[in-house]
């Protein structure tokens, strides 16, 4: 066995981090109650809530100080994203944050945009798959974005469209839009090109997945909390259904999966902030496991609530639907396995396999 590197394994939050977490837990509890979430459907966007969020500084807090941010790291962003996920806040937090951070890494051409994002007058979204003219992709947050940042045939571009975006209906009530870089645009600003552009784009997509992982952790935790409460309150055969192990044990497994997912996301975020070269495998693991944990939590949650859980009256369905969209938009989550293997074991050498 190779010499394992011994690392600290300290998941405690600093006072500042704890304050941040608590502040946004109460912000979203107050500002994103479930009826506001429901009334933002089907688009999944509440402009007023976005403006409130802008006034907290969150959308740009992850930018470097010289680009108008607070230099907050992914750990801090993940703490906020989890709380947004817990309350299903109908705002494109992850798309804007990741796209803005990407722009900030690509020179000064977009300074004006970053200022506008900070002021709440514009929003950007990240197209999370490499793009090509003639191939439309669904861009998360794109339906409410003024600009889309995408990687188009070796160039990183900031695209603004002539037509106002419209979003297709979708399982997660996400403000999605179709985007094809070959469509007519008002402007297509190239912000980087070549290998550095590709590397920055890959980083941004990993950040998108990581912050989505944190969001999914929040959703999974909320689904678990709803289900546990229901299991305490609902009576069948004269006892609370939580006394039945068929109900209790799956909830225990969900609780374990959610706690593991949260810690993976935190550790991945910490590594990305402090030792970026060590981070990619952990980030992919965090995303894949969060997708699974949220799927498990919301499916168990529906089952725990019985027939009620299957009705649209139950809030569980709101979580169930969003858990799936957050897991699908970056592509088949299982495809992350290949990325994990690449990071851990190096790329496959098909020429060797080809000899078979």
């Amino acid at each position: 066995m190779a010499d394992a590197e011994l690392r600290n394994n300290d998941f405690s939050l600093s006072d500042d981090q704890e304050t941040l977490r608590a502040t946004f837990a109460s912000f979203f509890e107050r500002e994103s109650p479930i009826d506001r979430v429901r009334s933002a459907e089907p688009l999944g966007f509440d402009e007023k809530l976005w403006q409130q969020l802008v006034s907290t500084g969150v959308p740009t807090m992850g930018l470097p100080p010289d680009r108008g941010g607070d230099g907050a790291g992914l750990v801090e962003l993940a703490l906020v994203a989890e709380q947004a996920g817990y309350r299903l806040a109908p705002v494109p937090l992850v798309p804007v944050v990741t796209a803005a951070r990407l722009l900030a890494r690509c020179g000064n051409a977009t300074t004006e945009w970053l200022a506008a994002i900070a002021a709440g007058t514009r929003r950007v979204a990240l197209a999370v798959h490499p793009a090509r003219a003639g191939e439309a992709q669904l861009v998360p947050g794109g339906a409410v974005a003024d600009g889309i940042v995408g990687f188009v045939e070796n160039h990183l571009v900031l695209a603004t469209r002539s037509e106002p975006a419209s979003g297709p209906r979708n399982i997660g009530s996400e403000p999605l839009t179709w985007w094809d870089p070959g469509d007519p645009h008002e402007s297509l600003l190239e912000v980087a090109s070549g290998a550095p552009a590709r590397a920055s784009f890959d980083d941004a997509c990993r950040e998108w997945r990581l912050l989505s992982a944190a969001t999914l952790v929040g959703m999974a935790q909320a689904a678990l909390d709803l289900a546990v409460q229901y299991a305490k309150d609902r009576v069948a055969f004269g006892v609370p259904i939580g006394t039945f192990q068929a109900i209790a044990h799956p909830l225990v497994d969900v609780a374990g999966a959610v706690q593991g997912a949260r810690h993976l996301a935190w550790k991945a975020a910490w590594l990305a902030d402090h030792e970026p070269e060590q981070a990619p495998a952990e980030m992919e693991m965090a995303y894949l496991h969060s997708c699974r944990a949220a799927q498990q939590a919301t499916a168990v949650g529906i089952h725990t609530q019985g027939g009620f859980g299957f009705t649209l009256e139950s809030d569980m369905q709101l979580y169930f639907r969003r858990a799936k969209s957050a897991a699908l938009l970056a592509g088949d989550p299982r495809a992350r396995l290949a990325a994990i293997a690449d990071h851990l074991y190096g790329p496959a050498q098909p020429e060797l396999t080809g000899q078979r």
Partner: protein, 399 residues
């Protein structure tokens, strides 16, 4: 939050080298091979060598037979051992638990009589809770202890007393008041296994670990061997599980690794499983091709690596339940990955990675059973951490 590599002082590095050299000398391939065949759970000569250095209780003060090591060094002693033995020697951790129970509940006389020998590595101790009709319902024991002057006479049958064939003592729950409710009529004893009337009979297991029936036929022991008050056996047993979370081995920066390993080394087993699978995947076949270049292999290794990382970050009470499930799932899947030669056990010509995957696949099944089944642990988590109303089985345990 901090996941930075540990910064070890030159002194600690030197100590670490010393630990490695120690195991190279005292934990040889031949010993491990014998352990594979016999599944004893202890290697007495290793225990003695560790005792000589105070490493049975490395964090204890020297006066108590320890080595007075800081938490980090104490952890390195255990960490290095587990890296070498993987799932072998599962009894190294539990002995701390019995010793901790003796420290808390034993009389001064008993402590002076037993603990120095344990620290020297001369004395080994086992758990004797389970009986043929008392497993999960651990308070349902039928073994009787009847007072006779300053002595007790113990009669009954224990099952799954792992390590009893080598141990000097077994910590036994016995019924002292058959008329009291089942949890109140128990008393705990540290029974010397060389006493007259004790018979140990081996039980072979699917995972290769040896465990035992222990028969007690009118075994006479002094009252000195009682742990805790008469009738308080259930509290003593429960405390011994609580103590599990405050192991004498320090935690320090190694916290994620070492306390996990105290849990019968399951986290370490998952690591051993993944390492074996990765090793298999990198070995070229006769045509030069390597499994690691095939997508189906890469996906599976990534799944298992994800589980390994996940278990290393999953907190406290959940990790045992989820690690056991991950072990059972991943061992089966990684064995499938290997294909036909996966059926070959250790020692058989052509067995991949020395049969490690095949062995861990069998071994994994036990991890959901001993130390209290994972179902029992789920009951406890549901009640104590999720706040769900008590399940009947749990209710019974408290009555």
């Amino acid at each position: 939050m901090d996941f930075a590599p540990l910064e070890l002082s030159a002194d600690t590095h030197a100590f670490w080298d010393e630990v490695r050299a120690f195991y190279s000398e005292h934990l040889t391939e031949e010993m491990l091979e014998k352990e594979h065949r016999e599944g004893n759970g202890f290697i007495p000569s290793l225990q003695l060598a560790m005792g000589a250095r105070g490493w049975v209780f490395p964090g204890f003060p020297v006066e108590e037979g320890g080595a007075g090591l800081d938490p980090l060094r104490a952890s390195l002693v255990e960490y290095e051992m587990h890296r070498r033995v993987g799932p072998l020697l599962p009894l190294f951790g539990p002995i701390h638990l019995v010793a901790a129970t003796v420290r808390v509940f034993g009389s001064d006389e008993l402590k002076a009589h037993v603990l120095p020998g344990v620290a020297r590595g001369e004395v080994l101790m086992a758990f004797g809770y389970t009986e043929p009709d008392a497993g999960s319902d651990a308070a349902a024991v039928k073994t009787r202890a009847v007072r006779d002057g300053s002595e007790w006479v113990i009669t009954g049958q224990k099952m799954f007393t792992t390590g009893a064939q080598l141990c000097q003592y077994s910590m036994v729950t016995a019924r002292t008041d058959p008329d009291a409710p089942k949890h109140r009529g128990l008393t705990m004893f540290l029974v010397p296994l060389d006493a007259e009337g004790v018979e140990v009979r081996g039980i072979e297991t699917l995972g290769g670990e040896r465990t035992n029936f222990v028969f007690y036929d009118g075994v006479r022991i002094s009252d000195m061997y009682r742990l805790g008050d008469v009738g308080a056996g259930w509290q003593v047993a429960s405390s011994s599980f609580a103590v599990e979370h405050h192991m004498p081995n320090g935690t320090g920066g190694l916290e994620p690794i070492v306390p996990r390993l105290n849990e019968f080394g399951w986290y370490g087993v998952l690591g051993a499983l993944v390492d074996a699978a990765v090793e298999w995947a990198h070995a070229p076949r006769s045509d030069g091709s390597r499994p690691i270049d095939e997508p189906r292999v890469r996906d599976r290794l990534a799944e298992a690596a994800l589980d390994r990382e996940l278990m290393s970050v999953t907190p406290g009470p959940y990790v045992r339940v989820s690690t056991s499930a991950a072990l059972i799932r991943d061992a089966a899947d990684l064995l499938d990955m290997v294909g036909p030669t996966g059926v070959l056990p250790r020692g058989e010509e052509g067995a991949p990675v020395g049969g490690t995957l095949e062995w861990i696949h069998r071994f994994a099944q036990g991890t959901s059973i001993y130390g209290g089944t994972t179902d029992i642990q789920r009951n406890l988590i549901a009640e104590q951490l999720l706040g769900l109303p008590r399940h009947r089985g749990v209710l019974d345990r408290r009555s």
